[in-house]
Each structure stands twice: as structure tokens, then as C-alpha cells.
């Protein structure tokens, strides 16, 4: 008969676990067989599985982007056929959105860090966590099937009636892939929400949660509530294509605009699924780099929740020129502009945090700075697009393309790399070359701007998106953009080299290489299988750095 409570709640030294010495040393050493990875329920190992899978998809999506940019070097469509070009940008969009950006930070760093940051041993449902990885991989197989069987040409938005009645590609397969990936999202979001509610260690109150946890929590709410709407919408498209059960078909009195409403009800919040975790990462990186408590903690945490909630009510700004009601457009325009308030709060508070901080120019901080700069440009151009009159002019042009790439690639991907550089020593226990890290941060920033800034100009001058034949006067800007894409591609490859090199040859990192606060830095690098030797107890606010006050000089 086992005792009712194991471990005893009163005795914090009692971990209630019978660990092997290897498990106590590191989660990486707790089993070396393939089975010990593929059947693991350890959130840290599942995070690594996700990291490997999404890196693969990032590469595939990047190749598609490379094809698009190569084709755009000349005004004639000479590299790809019209159909081939449509398939290339559709695959780029579908893979980058659903198989890289959405799972990127939440499923890798969220998985790895949330339990560590709140002092838990694992996520609330470890087996469900593993299941969601398998579901993700099943969806990935469908995506590869789409690739092999000839692709899909509807654009990542699957707009009807093109997708339901006219497109020739593998629409149903692609929709199935996204549909299945959605369940992975939902289960991960559910897992995180329950974990944050139920598994915080003693003393970890809501007001002491690290800002990264707040942002992943806000993201999870969107994952759980928005994703099913996409699922049913894609199911309706599949029903129309496979069985002729049309509900969007205009010939039956259905309305393609209804499809757009349903699609964007998910897909606009999805933008915040991609960027909210990035905002959380940057909050961590900024506080760590400045070695100061984050300025206005409650406002930064609250703004994550505000963005998550507001994000549900702005979808109509994708449809300003669709013929929807003028009054609806006005309301959507107003609400979209309102999103700038919580976003602005974050940027101002990061700046205030950095003010008079002892800033170290390490790679994570450089990525965070790149993020802030690019996020501000992307955010401000978002405001321009939210204005009804201006949007009519630049709708469906490269201006929009540049805007969302500044947020999702400049923002989310920079933050992803920042997180990778910040937590790499914790995940693998090895330090990487800081010089190469700084260099790649710089090159990614420069390459990114060279790729996408010309697209603002192109869009403003009237270059529509999704065309590969264009007037010759646009060529200079297109060549600049393609050249930037080349630099960006190489810069993205650099971290592969030196991070993988560090995995084997890097010097041991130590438990807290950056000298920062946070529970994840108090355990070993890499952490033991069960995260903590003793249940941690939190007795102070987060980011509790010692701040030197002016006039109270200690030296």
C-alpha cells in the first residue's frame, strides 16, 4: 500500500521519484536508444523533437521562398511556370505558417521552458504532449505528400471558390494536413493552460510568473479557441470538393465572403499565435541583458492578454476591399488600431528597462534588438494598413507582404533565434561561439532589411502580390530584394553550423552562464530528467536584480 501523498507536500526535499543516476545527471543522458526519444514523455525531449521537425520544415519552406525570389529576379516569368509559381508561394505560405511559425516558439521553447520556469516537473499531461508531436508529424507527412504529388496553388488562404471549385492541386490533402496540425496546436495549448494553472511551485503566484510564461499562456488561449474554427472551415471546403456539399458555393446562395470571415476569424488571431511568444521571449532577453527588473511588469503581462483578446475582434481588416459593410470596416479599423496600444506598451517598457541598464552585447540581446527594430517597423506599417483609405491603395500589394514579413519573419523568427541563443546553453549544457553569434545576428538583421524594405517601396508603387511577371521598372527593387534573400538564407544557415559545432566541442556552460534570474537557471545545464532536485520555492518578485541607484553610489 503506497502512502496517499507521495511526495509529501510538507517535505520539499522529498521528490517522490526513484531516479537512476543518469536521469539525475541530465535529461539528455536518461536513455540513449531511439525508443527512449520516440516514446519519451519528458517535455524537454519532446521540445527537442519539435525543434528538429520544425527546423526541417523551415528548410523546406525556405527553399520554396528561394524559388519565388529567384523567379522574381527578372520581369518575365522565366524560371517557373505561372502554375509553378503559384504552387511555390502557396507551399512557402502553408509550410511557414502552420509547420514552422505556429509551432516554433510555443512547441519548442514553450514545451522546454514553461515547466522549468514555474518549477514543475513536466507539463500537466505528458503523454498528451507526446501525442501532439505525433499528430504534428502525421500532418507533416500529409504536407510532404502534397509536395510530392504536385503541390497546391490556392495561396495559403485557401479562398473559395478557387479552392473549392476551380483549383487543380492537392487542395484536400493540404487542407487535411492543416486540419490535423490544428489538433496538435489545440492539445499543446490545452496542456500549457492547465500546467500554468495547476502546477506552479510554492510561491510562484500569478504576479511572479515570468513574462515568457504569460505570453505562452495568452498564446495557448488563442490556440484553443481559434484553431477549431479553422478546422471546421477546412472541413467545409473538403466536403464541398469531395462530396459536392457546398455551403460557400455562390450558385447555391452560399457566400465566399462567409468563408473569408471564418478563415480570418482563425487566421488573424493566428498572427498573434506567431508573435505573442516572440514578445515574451524578448521580454526575457531584455531583462536579462539590462540586468534590471522589467519596467512595468504588470503592464507587460497584461498587454499579452490584451493582445490575445483584442486579436479575436480585428479579423475584418483583411476584408476592407471585399465589399463588407462600411460600418463593419470602420469598427474593424478602429479595433485594429487599438492593438497598437498594448504593443506600444511593450516596446516602451522594454526601452525603459534598458535605460541605465548594464547592457551586455551578447548574441541574445542583439537578436532582441533586431526584433524590437523590425517589430516597430512592422507594427507601424500595420497601423498604416489599418487605415481604411490607405488600405484601399495598398491592399494586396507588396506593402502588405513586407508588413507581415517584418512581423512574422523579422519579429517572430528573430525572437526564435534569440531564444535559441539564450537558452541553448541550458538545453544542451554547452556554450557556443559568441563572436559567430553576434555576426549571424547582424547578418540576419541586414539581410532581412535588404530583402523586405524594398518590398514596401514596391507595394507603394503598385506591385501586386502573387504575380511573377511584372513591369520592368520594378526590376531594381526586386533584384535588391532577391539579393537580400540570398544573404538572409546564408545568415540563417550560420547558426546551424556553430550551434551544432558547440554541441560537441563547446565548453561546458555552467548552470547560469548569463548570470540571470529565473527558476530555469537554478537547476543544472542541461537539467536533470525531473527538472529540479528539490521542489523550488519562490519568495520574491521576478527579475529581482540588484539595481544601483543614483546618489546611493556603492562606489
Amino acid at each position: 500500500m503506497t502512502p496517499e501523498e507521495r511526495p509529501e507536500r510538507e517535505n520539499l526535499a522529498d521528490t517522490g521519484l526513484s531516479e537512476t543516476p543518469a536521469e539525475r545527471v541530465s535529461y539528455l543522458r536518461a536513455g540513449h536508444t531511439l525508443k527512449s526519444w520516440l516514446l519519451t514523455t519528458d517535455h524537454k525531449r519532446i521540445a527537442i523533437l519539435y525543434l528538429i521537425s520544425i527546423t526541417f520544415f523551415f528548410f523546406v519552406g525556405g527553399v520554396a521562398a528561394g524559388l519565388v525570389r529567384l523567379d522574381l529576379l527578372t520581369p518575365a516569368g522565366d524560371l517557373l511556370s505561372n502554375e509553378g509559381y503559384n504552387r511555390a508561394f502557396t507551399l512557402h505560405g502553408v509550410i511557414m505558417v502552420w509547420f514552422f511559425l505556429i509551432p516554433s516558439i510555443p512547441n519548442t521553447f514553450g514545451n522546454f521552458l514553461v515547466p522549468l520556469m514555474i518549477g514543475a516537473r513536466d507539463l500537466a499531461f505528458p503523454r498528451l504532449n507526446l501525442l501532439s508531436w505525433y499528430i504534428f508529424m502525421l500532418a507533416g507527412l500529409f504536407t510532404l505528400a502534397v509536395l510530392i504529388l504536385g503541390g497546391v496553388d490556392t495561396g495559403w488562404t485557401f479562398y473559395t471558390p478557387l479552392s473549392s471549385m476551380f483549383a487543380h492541386g492537392q487542395v484536400v490533402l493540404a487542407a487535411t494536413a492543416v486540419f490535423i496540425a490544428g489538433f496538435s496546436s489545440i492539445l499543446t495549448g490545452l496542456n500549457v493552460i492547465v500546467t500554468v494553472h495547476k502546477l506552479r511551485c510554492p510561491g510562484m503566484t500569478w504576479g511572479r510568473l515570468p513574462l515568457f510564461v504569460w505570453s505562452i499562456y495568452a498564446t495557448s488561449l488563442i490556440l484553443v479557441l481559434a484553431t477549431p474554427v479553422l478546422s471546421i472551415t477546412l472541413a467545409l471546403i473538403a466536403a464541398e470538393r469531395l462530396f459536392g456539399l457546398g455551403v460557400f458555393d455562390p450558385a447555391l446562395g452560399g457566400d465566399p465572403l462567409l468563408y473569408q470571415h471564418l478563415f480570418w476569424f482563425y487566421s488573424h488571431p493566428a498572427v498573434y499565435i506567431m508573435v505573442l511568444p516572440a514578445l515574451g521571449v524578448v521580454s526575457e532577453l531584455v531583462a536579462a541583458a539590462a540586468r534590471k527588473p522589467i519596467f512595468g511588469y504588470a503592464f507587460v503581462a497584461g498587454s499579452s492578454m490584451a493582445i490575445a483578446i483584442l486579436g479575436f475582434f480585428v479579423w475584418g481588416h483583411h476584408m476592407f476591399v471585399s465589399g463588407q459593410s462600411m460600418y463593419a470596416s470602420a469598427v474593424f479599423s478602429f479595433l485594429s488600431i487599438a492593438v497598437a496600444i498594448p504593443s506600444g506598451i511593450k516596446v516602451y517598457n522594454w526601452t525603459a528597462t534598458l535605460y541605465k541598464g548594464h547592457i551586455s552585447l551578447d548574441p541574445p540581446f542583439l537578436f532582441a534588438m533586431a526584433f524590437i527594430g523590425l517589430f516597430v517597423v512592422g507594427g507601424l506599417t500595420g497601423l498604416i494598413l489599418a487605415m481604411l483609405a490607405v488600405d484601399v491603395h495598398v491592399h494586396d500589394t507588396y506593402f502588405v507582404v513586407a508588413h507581415f514579413h517584418y512581423i512574422m519573419v523579422g519579429g517572430a523568427v528573430s525572437a526564435f533565434f534569440g531564444a535559441l541563443h539564450f537558452w541553448w546553453p541550458k538545453m544542451f549544457g554547452r556554450n557556443y561561439s559568441l563572436v559567430w553569434g553576434r555576426l549571424s545576428a547582424l547578418l540576419i538583421f541586414l539581410g532581412f532589411n535588404l530583402t523586405f524594405f524594398p518590398q514596401f517601396l514596391l507595394g507603394y508603387l503598385g506591385m501586386p502580390r502573387r504575380y511573377h511577371v511584372y513591369p520592368p521598372e520594378f526590376q531594381v527593387l526586386h533584384v535588391l530584394s532577391s539579393a537580400g534573400a540570398g544573404i538572409l538564407g546564408l545568415a540563417y544557415l550560420m547558426p546551424f553550423a556553430y550551434l551544432l559545432y558547440a554541441l560537441r566541442y563547446g565548453p561546458p556552460a555552467g548552470d547560469n552562464p548569463w548570470g540571470v534570474t529565473g527558476l530555469e537557471w537554478q537547476t543544472r545545464s542541461p537539467p536533470p530528467k525531473h527538472n529540479f532536485e528539490t521542489v523550488p520555492v519562490v519568495d520574491g518578485p521576478p527579475y529581482d536584480y540588484h539595481v544601483e541607484m543614483e546618489g546611493h553610489g556603492d562606489g
Binding site: R121, L225, V229, L242, G244, L252, G253, L262, V535
Partner: protein
């Protein structure tokens, strides 16, 4: 027998609360899944009100009502089982009756589909159908999709209850310690029931 506490938890009540919260979040997600269909129904109703009313008049509302009664009764039995499980004395026979009622729902639904098919108003693929107006066709498309999706959910619920009934028979479900399993299955069953309570008026009584 003491309750087993699994990996990340330190106490049984913490584990139970987490499991129930997980189920509620999943149900919120399910609700959003069906909400897309209800939005389409609302759109059709607003844009094509006369067609929707005409299409709805052709539905066999008596069968729908009988099915509503079956599901509500099954929910009562499931609720009684949950209450009994919490007191440690759930009976597999009660669950089995709930399962039979669920199967009865599916059987009646099949009969109804068959009647509608014979009347030429069920838009099954392959069969050429003449509808008096396009919007009535769209309405029947939505009806078929929504009720099929509901039937799929109901079948999953039947599977869940059947698993529990077997575990009760074999005595592998320690009660009242693990009554949370029964509660979560019950919550799912009730949600499937509630979805039908909304589907029924939307498709059968919108006249």
C-alpha cells in the same frame, strides 16, 4: 486502494483538478468547432429566410424530437452514473442503458436519412437532386454536414462510455478515487447532447 498520483503531480486533488480543467478546455474547443457551423446556419437564415423555412418544413421533426428525448434520457443516466461513481457504487447496467439510448439515436438518424434520401432531399454525393431553390440545397448540405459531425462525436462518446462500462465490469476502475474519469466522460457526453439541443431547433424548428 489509494489513488495513484502520476508524474508531474504531487497530490490526488491537484491531479483531479487538472484533469477536469483539461476536459473543460477541450470542450470549449469543441464548442468553437461547432460554432463555425452555427454561423453558417445563421448566415443562411438571415440571407435566405423563406428558403430556410421551406426546407425546415420538410424535416421529420417528430423523429428529431424522439432523438432529443433519447439523448436527454441518456444524459440523465450518465449524470446518475457520475453521481454514483463519486459515492463508489456505479453500475455498468446504467451505463449500458445510456449506450443503448445513444445507439438508438444513431439508428433513428439512419432511418431518417433513408427517408430523406427517398424523398430526394438528402444531398448525398453522386445522386442527382433537384431542389426547388439553390439556398434549400445549401441548407440541406449544411444539415448533412452538421448532423454527420454530431453523429461522429456521439459515436466517440459511445466508445468512451463502453470503455468505462467494461472497466466497471472488470473492476479496473477504482471508485470513488478515479471517479474523475467518469465525470470527464460524462462532461463530454453532456456536451454532445447540448450540441444536439441546439442543432435540433436550428434545422427542424426554424419555420
Amino acid at each position: 486502494m489509494a489513488e495513484r498520483v502520476h508524474e508531474p503531480y504531487s497530490a490526488p486533488d491537484q491531479q483531479r483538478e487538472a484533469e477536469m480543467m483539461g476536459m473543460y478546455i477541450f470542450l470549449a474547443s469543441e464548442t468553437m468547432l461547432f460554432s463555425g457551423l452555427f454561423l453558417v446556419a445563421l448566415y443562411l437564415r438571415l440571407e435566405h429566410a423563406p428558403d430556410v423555412v421551406a426546407a425546415s418544413r420538410q424535416m421529420h421533426y417528430v423523429i428529431g424530437a424522439a432523438n432529443t428525448a433519447l439523448l436527454l434520457t441518456s444524459s440523465l443516466l450518465v449524470a446518475l452514473s457520475v453521481e454514483a461513481a463519486r459515492q463508489g457504487r456505479a453500475r455498468p447496467a446504467v451505463l449500458a442503458t445510456a449506450i443503448l439510448l445513444g445507439l438508438g439515436f444513431l439508428a433513428l438518424k439512419a432511418v431518417e436519412y433513408r427517408m430523406e434520401y427517398a424523398e430526394g432531399i438528402l444531398p448525398l454525393p453522386g445522386a442527382a437532386r433537384e431542389f426547388p431553390s439553390p439556398a434549400r440545397h445549401a441548407f440541406m448540405n449544411l444539415y448533412l454536414i452538421a448532423t454527420t459531425l454530431h453523429a461522429v462525436h456521439l459515436s466517440i462518446g459511445i466508445g468512451l462510455l463502453a470503455t468505462l462500462a467494461v472497466r466497471l465490469l472488470r473492476g479496473t476502475l477504482p471508485l470513488p478515487e478515479r471517479s474523475i474519469v467518469m465525470m470527464n466522460a460524462g462532461l463530454y457526453w453532456h456536451l454532445v447532447d447540448v450540441i444536439w439541443i441546439f442543432l435540433y431547433p436550428v434545422f427542424y424548428l426554424a419555420r
